[in-house]
């Protein structure tokens, strides 16, 4: 394949569809990141490890013989509990500390979770049983897609609708938004800040676990799953760090950009562009439109 040569339209279509499909998983993981950021202004560098944690729990449960839907639900629950625990033990003492402290504590958390999972589960690739989800490739026009990607899209869509309604109309959701907006004001209105943080971590861990199971069925469960935690940073910056619709749109868009760019440009630079291209996009966005497509612009006045 020559550099920058025009390909047949089918190639573009297949890159596009694969991109959309990967984007669904990105959207799901990015959602978790946005949730925590919205509530507590913490960017969680351990999101990828939460994804991996969820995948391992899901794998362990389904390997124990539970039917898939039960295992899936139970995983979300357990991951949510894990999120609560993490918040209580690690993040709670850090309330009110500067950004850098929060950031570094989540980096430390990431090492801890990864080390713990290695100790408990080793580094072998674990595979889900094949018949969990229908795995026959679907024909979408001329392009074949693995249905797992469609599941990811579907689950991401469901998650977005649920979370959107939750934030817009439920009491807890409004409390979370108030906390994100102004912690002191929220506190004086009788909102328990600590509970809001705990809730956001539980939700985020559950969403990450859903992403983990989907990714795990796709690629097998091992430590490489955690790299998705890095890949979602361009996604959330593109969509806006504090926007739930932004996470979804950003996820889909980034999935497409990544696949199309690596499809066309990889021969020019000797490969590996798939993992790097999103970060070029990230830098461009930060320079041009730092709060992303849907993020709230923070204006400083002197």
């Amino acid at each position: 394949m020559d550099c920058l040569s025009l390909r047949e339209p089918l190639f573009f279509a297949s890159q596009l569809v694969t991109g959309l499909a990967t984007g669904g998983v990105y959207a799901l993981v990015a959602l978790g990141l946005v949730l925590i950021y919205k509530a507590s202004d913490v960017v969680n560098f351990a999101q990828g490890d939460l994804v991996m944690l969820g995948a391992y729990i899901g794998w362990a449960l389904s390997a124990a013989g539970l039917p898939f839907p039960v295992a899936f639900g139970l995983t979300l629950g357990l991951a949510g509990l894990g999120g609560l625990l993490i918040e209580r033990l690690v993040l709670r003492p850090m309330i009110g500390k500067p950004i850098i402290a929060m950031m570094i504590v989540t980096l430390g958390l990431s090492s801890m979770l990864r080390g713990l999972l290695f100790i408990l589960a080793g580094t072998d690739v674990r595979r889900f049983a094949d018949d969990l989800l229908p795995t026959l490739p679907l024909q979408l026009g001329p392009v074949q897609v693995s249905p797992i990607y469609l599941w990811a899209l579907l689950i991401a869509a469901v998650a977005v609708i649920c979370l959107g309604t939750f934030f817009r109309s439920s009491r807890q959701g409004i409390a979370l938004r108030a906390t994100a907006d102004d912690q002191q004001a929220a506190m004086s209105m009788g909102i328990r800040i600590s509970w809001a943080f705990a809730l956001s971590w539980a939700l985020s861990a559950a969403v990450a676990a859903a992403g983990g199971i989907l990714l795990g069925t796709l690629t097998g469960v091992n430590f490489t799953l955690a790299t998705v935690g890095l890949q979602v940073f361009p996604v959330v910056i593109l969509g806006g760090l504090d926007s739930i619709p932004g996470a979804v749109v950003g996820g889909l868009l980034m999935g497409v950009l990544q696949n199309v760019a690596s499809g066309y440009l990889d021969p020019c630079v000797g490969g590996g562009l798939k993992d790097v291209f999103p970060f070029f996009v990230l830098l461009a966005i930060l320079l041009v439109k730092p709060y992303g497509l849907f993020g709230r612009v923070r204006i400083e006045r002197v």
Binding site: I99, S111, M112, F118, L230, V276, F279, L286
Partner: protein, 348 residues
């Protein structure tokens, strides 16, 4: 003249401006340096010298990151990448172009500083978390660029040392001298207009700009200086190991450096040194510990050991952040105070 409790008074500006104002402190420092220069090379085993060398390199790198993150308040998750750029630059200059070490190391520092200025550009527009994520992007992109065959060849580049520095002991003396220069340089830098401007930018950037500090310029300067330190550290590291490989300089290295300055204590020079020593020694101590355990249990796996290392590394970071956010430098100072004031401590 050990305890300055009653105040220290000087009659000349020159005396007041000295780095170590008390004769006792000067004496202690000179003794410490004498031990490092004379006694250590005589008594330490080759392995101990090698470990000390890695500590010195880490110290230089940590000082650089501390200048940027601890003093200027700009979080960088790309320090590992900068160190990589320095390492590759010097290695390529020496092994492919035959440039002497005395030129290639500063050249590596300068090139990395230029790159640092480039990476620092977004800091003119964004700050805090957004800037941290921009440096993360820089780290990933640098990783990728270093792994291109045009730079890395088959994956690693030889980084030879000239014959005179071939023995580890000789190289140790060089590293020690560079580290001391780095410490003195940064200590003096922070007492100048530049250093005060950096601290002003960290504490309140808007207020700083109101009193006439050009915020953007100083942020860029901080990026440049910090990358210079990173480049020098990387170059020296490459020549210490004899080869550089792009896999050495990935995100986990950046995290290690962040951990060093946080565990040591942000915005403190002794802190950067303590942190570099602590974080570099941690895996070695754990390995020894696990070695003893292995002897007891009878053969374990190295995979388990590295997982345990990763876990404990994270645990130490989390514990420091939650229990003593001001790090080892703070613990060191409390300890000194406690000893100095004993038995009449005024804190109950």
């Amino acid at each position: 003249m050990i305890a300055p409790e009653t105040g220290v008074f000087f009659t000349t500006y020159q005396a007041d401006r000295r780095l170590h104002r008390l004769p006792f402190a000067r004496l202690a420092m000179l003794t410490f340096l004498a031990v490092l220069y004379v006694v250590v090379p005589l008594v330490a085993s080759p392995y101990q010298i090698y470990v000390l060398d890695t500590l010195l390199v880490a110290t230089i790198g940590a000082l650089g990151l501390n200048l940027l993150t601890g003093y200027a308040g700009q979080i960088s998750i790309g320090h590992g990448g900068f160190i990589g750029v320095g390492a590759f630059t010097s290695a390529i200059l020496v092994s492919k172009l035959g440039v002497p070490l005395a030129i290639s190391v500063p050249a590596a520092g300068l090139l990395t500083a230029g790159l640092g200025l480039l990476v620092g550009l977004p800091s003119l527009r964004i700050k805090g978390l957004y800037l941290a994520i921009a440096t993360l992007a820089a780290q990933v992109i640098i990783d990728w660029a270093l792994s291109r065959p045009a730079i890395a060849g088959t994956g690693s580049v030889a980084a030879p040392r000239p014959g005179l520095l071939q023995p580890d002991r000789a190289y140790y003396v060089v590293l020690l001298s560079v580290t001391i220069l780095a410490v003195i340089g940064i200590e003096n830098l922070l007492r100048t207009r530049l250093g005060r401007a950096l601290i002003a930018v960290r504490d309140q950037d808007i207020a700083a700009s109101v009193i006439g500090v050009s915020v953007g310029r100083y942020k860029l300067l901080a990026f440049g200086l910090s990358s210079f330190y990173a480049g020098v550290a990387g170059a020296l590291l490459g020549h210490l190991n004899g080869a550089v490989n792009f896999e050495q300089f990935q995100l986990d290295l950046s995290i290690q450096y962040l951990a060093m300055i946080v565990i040591g204590g942000l915005g403190s020079i002794p802190g950067a040194i303590f942190g570099a020593v602590f974080v570099s020694l941690l895996p070695i101590l754990l390995r020894n510990l696990a070695g003893t355990l292995d002897g007891l249990v009878g053969g374990g796996s190295s995979g388990l050991l590295s997982s345990l290392q990763l876990f404990l590394f994270g645990l130490v970071i989390v514990l420091f952040m939650t229990l003593e956010p001001r790090g080892l430098a703070r613990i060191w100072r409390s300890l000194k105070d406690a000893i100095r004031l004993w038995p009449f401590s005024h804190e109950g």
